[in-house]
């Protein structure tokens, strides 16, 4: 069996005196898209932030491409080829759209072909190229945050609730973009509340509950098991949409 691209073993994270993660364990295989699901407060965002080094793991092991990254600094983790899109439309508001993207293209000027590919999916970014990113709408900011993560090829994309507050048309573009990415160069680990979106895109699923991973498996099997969804997510499939 091939070694997973990302592997978490017994990861515990504390924020102040609160114990948020209680020994998270799951693998993300190279290629494809793994959905990280769970109720609010289950620890999904903390898991992504811990992988990225933004919260330090108190215990446990996080291996990426065979290297233990649990004690590495965030910039070094990013330089290994991991990009992170936080849920809060994390753009740099004072910089223009262009500057935001150039900033993320660390290895040099952005590849024009790749820019065209991004513009084809997120047309607004081309239209507002020279506008300060703070002037964009919420959906456009989210597009920019995703575009920033994919402006250069990355091995692993960590994306936190990409569809939050987005219009259906933009979600459709995002689905198309993620599909091309997972079929091509990148592996994706996506936290999502929108189950319709998650079911369409996910190959694998890890469901968190109370700071631990309570279930892992294929998305197809999870989507077909209404009882398991009810048990782990607390809602029927219809209510997730």
């Amino acid at each position: 069996m091939p070694e997973p691209l990302l592997s978490l073993r017994g990861v515990k994270t504390n924020i102040g005196r609160y114990h948020i993660l209680h020994g998270v364990e799951f693998d993300v295989a190279e290629g494809g898209l793994t959905m990280l699901l769970g109720r609010n407060g289950a620890g999904k965002t903390t898991t992504l932030r811990t992988i990225m080094g933004l919260w330090r793991a108190a215990e446990g092991e996080i291996r990426f491409a065979g290297r233990d990254i649990a004690r590495m600094a965030t910039p070094d983790i990013a330089r290994l080829g991991i990009a992170y899109v936080p849920e809060s439309m994390a753009i740099f508001a004072d910089l223009t759209v262009q500057e935001n993207l150039i900033l993320a293209a660390r290895s040099g000027p952005p590849d024009p072909k790749r820019l065209d590919w991004i513009f084809a999916r997120f047309e607004a970014l081309k239209r507002f190229w020279n506008l300060p990113a703070g002037n964009l709408s919420g959906g456009q900011k989210q597009m920019l945050a995703v575009a920033r993560a994919i402006i250069e090829p990355r091995r692993l994309l960590l994306i936190d609730e990409p569809t939050k507050g987005l219009a259906p048309a933009i979600i459709a573009n995002m689905i198309a973009a993620f599909r091309e990415l997972k079929d091509g160069e990148s592996t994706l680990l996506v936290v999502e509340q929108n189950f319709t979106f998650a079911r369409q895109l996910g190959d694998q699923v890890a469901v968190m509950d109370d700071g631990k991973v309570a279930h892992t498996g294929t998305m197809a099997a999870f989507a077909a098991d209404a009882g398991l969804q009810q048990h782990l997510l607390g809602l029927g499939m219809g209510e997730h949409q």
Partner: protein
């Protein structure tokens, strides 16, 4: 050509362009437009303070670093030249050695302060810079054998910069000295403008806005902040060296005092933080007010200066440049 010179950072406001042009022409032709020792002194001080405020803007406006040690670097640059000219004689080799020595000390101190304290929260970093600057001010006053103590140092400038030097009819060494200050200041401001409009400047602004996001993209924020501190410190030291070359005397009051720190903070805030042009306008306004307001409004000029600044901050919260660009 102009676009390239300004690193594509055009004024983006007709009024701002006019104001900047007036300042540029006024300073470029100051010896001929405003004859007299006082006006030339004011023009030279404006040039020096434009550089000092612009370098502080790189720290505060572009990187979000609150430092109270900026005048310390200014003083180190000034004392570098002053000590070299006093000890080694009034030659250009002394000037070069003094400038290089001041730059080296300023950069080493900036690296040390940066690496040890830029990981701390803003307020703690500010307190550390305040403590270091106070220590240097006291040292400069106490080490009278080297610095001349409270009285400072008086020294002779190289021959070509002395008032008695007259290479052509109507041109004195003093005018040459002024153009040395003006041209070096102009070059330094253009270099800073290029820097803040480069990818390096974008990283600094990203760090100012959200250091965690910048780290998540792969930028080591401490390294970039320390680099910005070093560049600002080196530029402030060069401004200090220019002042030393202009005034032929250096003492703690004119180079290291906290009054100067407050002045450059006001220049940047009033002109508009994170704009570079704001530092230019702020420096011009403040130096002019300090030198001519007393003649206009009498002994209570400081009170009126305070009122003017309060009104300025109230009506132009984004600074004069921010206001002009929004029109």
């Amino acid at each position: 050509m102009l676009r390239a010179l300004l690193s594509d950072d055009l004024p983006r406001s007709r009024w701002l362009a006019v104001v900047l042009l007036v300042i540029l022409v006024g300073l470029a032709a100051a010896p001929f437009l405003f004859p007299g020792a006082k006006s030339l002194n004011v023009a030279a001080k404006i040039c020096v303070f434009i550089v000092l405020a612009a370098s502080f803007d790189l720290l505060l406006g572009y990187t979000g670093i609150v430092s109270f040690a900026h005048t310390m670097f200014f003083g180190i640059g000034a004392y570098g030249v002053a000590i070299a000219l006093t000890r080694l004689g009034a030659g250009w080799d002394s000037v070069a050695l003094g400038v290089l020595g001041g730059l080296a000390v300023a950069v080493v101190l900036a690296v040390l302060i940066g690496l040890f304290s830029l990981r701390l929260r803003t307020i703690f970093f500010a307190m550390i810079t305040l403590a270091v600057a106070s220590a240097v001010l006291i040292l400069a006053s106490q080490l009278s054998d080297i610095t001349g103590g409270e009285d400072g140092l008086n020294y002779r400038l190289p021959m070509a910069l002395r008032a008695s030097f007259r290479p052509f009819e109507g041109i004195t060494g003093r005018i040459l000295d002024y153009y040395l200050v003006f041209l070096v200041s102009l070059a330094l401001v253009l270099v800073l403008l290029r820097m803040v409009n480069s990818p390096f400047g974008s990283v600094l602004m990203a760090i100012r806005e959200n250091p965690f996001r910048a780290e998540a993209i792969g930028y080591r924020t401490v390294v970039y902040r320390t680099l910005a501190s070093c560049i600002a410190a080196a530029t402030a030291a060069l401004a200090g060296a220019l002042l030393a070359l202009w005034s032929s005397q250096t003492n703690p009051d004119t180079t290291l005092s906290f009054d100067i720190m407050v002045d450059i903070l006001l220049m940047v805030v009033i002109g508009g933080m994170g704009t570079m042009y704001g530092a230019v306008i702020g420096a011009v306004l403040l130096v002019l007010a300090q030198n001519y307001l007393q003649a206009l409004v009498g002994d209570r000029w400081l009170l009126w200066l305070g009122v003017a600044f309060i009104l300025c901050v109230y009506f132009f919260p984004t600074g004069i440049v921010g206001r002009l660009r929004r029109r």
